[in-house]
């Protein structure tokens, strides 16, 4: 039977844990704010680029240069590269597991019988897929701390180059899309060959450079921007997931403390009662 002192110790230890989880929740909340701001700041460029690409693609359609563009070349899909964007650290609930499982499911269900490669962003993705014997084509860490465009650009260039050299036949991007603090949705996007955005209306431009030349410079950038956006979204979703997880942990700790305190008080009362009985029975024995 645990003594009063044991209970006190347990309660103190749980309280310490609770303090840590509370602090982590606050930190995540602050980081989430910053990550959300970054997502919003990156939006105008990404949206404008998509529209511009749609316009240029419309103008370049059917031309020889566009048909020869290596980033639009569709090949028989045999080697599939998935770019998985995950976190570097844990303690974010089911965040990293969800994305890893989601990516694995995507491969197993829609890309069965093909050769898979994983390009991992974040330690959690690398560790998971390496343990399961997947081919890791590359790994990038510590980008989610403060997402920089340069990191996404490096990654994008590498992937574009591999695709242009026909080392892989298609590239998919798997990441968590930040919807709200409570919900992140798993998103699978085809990166290469570039799915051209649908064009709403044709603008009759004056082209300073031929449309296919513009297309050739726009496409790699479009890939980079898509990756960058995914990293930003994933970062925001990660902080949101950690915040929710730490909030749950804090309230669980509060429950544990409450229950332990109850036991402790019960134990204390029991020992007082026992002592009274002992005194009373001792006194009655003397009569």
């Amino acid at each position: 039977m645990p003594s009063l002192i044991d209970f006190r110790r347990r309660i103190r230890s749980v309280k310490n844990t609770q303090q840590i989880t509370k602090a982590m929740k606050m930190v995540s909340a602050a980081k989430l704010r910053r990550a959300q701001d970054a997502v919003i700041a990156a939006r105008p460029f990404a949206n404008s680029l998509r529209q511009m690409l749609a316009n240029v693609a419309g103008a370049a359609k059917g031309s020889e240069g566009a048909a020869e563009n290596p980033l639009l070349a569709e090949r028989a899909e045999e080697r599939v590269l998935v770019l998985i964007i995950n976190s570097d650290r844990g303690l974010a609930g089911a965040f990293s597991t969800n994305i890893n499982k989601g990516a694995q499911k995507f491969l197993a269900e829609s890309k069965a019988g093909k050769k898979w490669e994983v390009e991992a962003v974040g330690k959690k993705a690398r560790d998971y897929f390496r343990r399961r014997g997947f081919t890791i084509a590359g790994e990038t860490f510590n980008v989610t701390k403060a997402p920089k465009y340069a990191d996404a650009a490096t990654l994008g260039r590498k992937i574009v180059e591999r695709y242009a050299k026909a080392e892989v036949d298609s590239v998919y991007l798997v990441y968590n899309d930040f919807k709200s603090v409570m919900a992140a949705t798993l998103n699978v996007v085809q990166l290469l060959p570039v799915p051209l955005p649908a064009q709403q209306e044709t603008t009759d431009y004056i082209f300073e450079q031929p449309a296919e030349d513009l297309l050739a410079t726009l496409l790699p950038r479009y890939v980079e921007v898509t990756i960058f956006r995914a990293i930003l979204e994933s970062t925001a979703a990660e902080h949101a997931a950690r915040m929710t997880a730490m909030d749950a942990a804090s309230s669980n700790a509060a429950d544990v403390i409450e229950r332990l305190t109850l036991y402790m008080n019960r134990l204390r009362q029991a020992s007082i009662t026992r002592e009274i009985i002992e005194v009373v029975s001792g006194a009655s024995a003397l009569e």
Partner: protein
Amino acid sequence: MAATFELEVATPDRLLVKDQVTDAHIPGLGGYLGVLPEHAPLLSELGSGLLSYTIGGKSNSVIVSGGWVEILPGGTRVLAASAERPDEIDLKRAQESLDRAERRLKEAGDWDIVRTLRAAERARARVEAASKVRG
């Protein structure tokens, strides 16, 4: 009140300018483009240099390099690989990278000549712009 159009300058990580302007001078790859309201739709690659524009009679500028400029009936959009306000430029660092690029151009080495040329051009634009704006 003069006629205005919307000018937007964005980089991958931020929106630098979104204002109603009366005119803009944009460094295209093939030379400067002067843009006034009602400009015909145009699409060009962006060069490196000082992009200046006027809001309500006051002249402003940003330094851009690499990217695209799209002129639409609704407004002008500049998507730059990098863009800075003049006061954000570290003149000393810009000068250093210009010197480095020029040195590299003089002596042959195993660096990419096209990239070095671009870097020199970019650095020169930044140095010129920063010293011009600061006077």
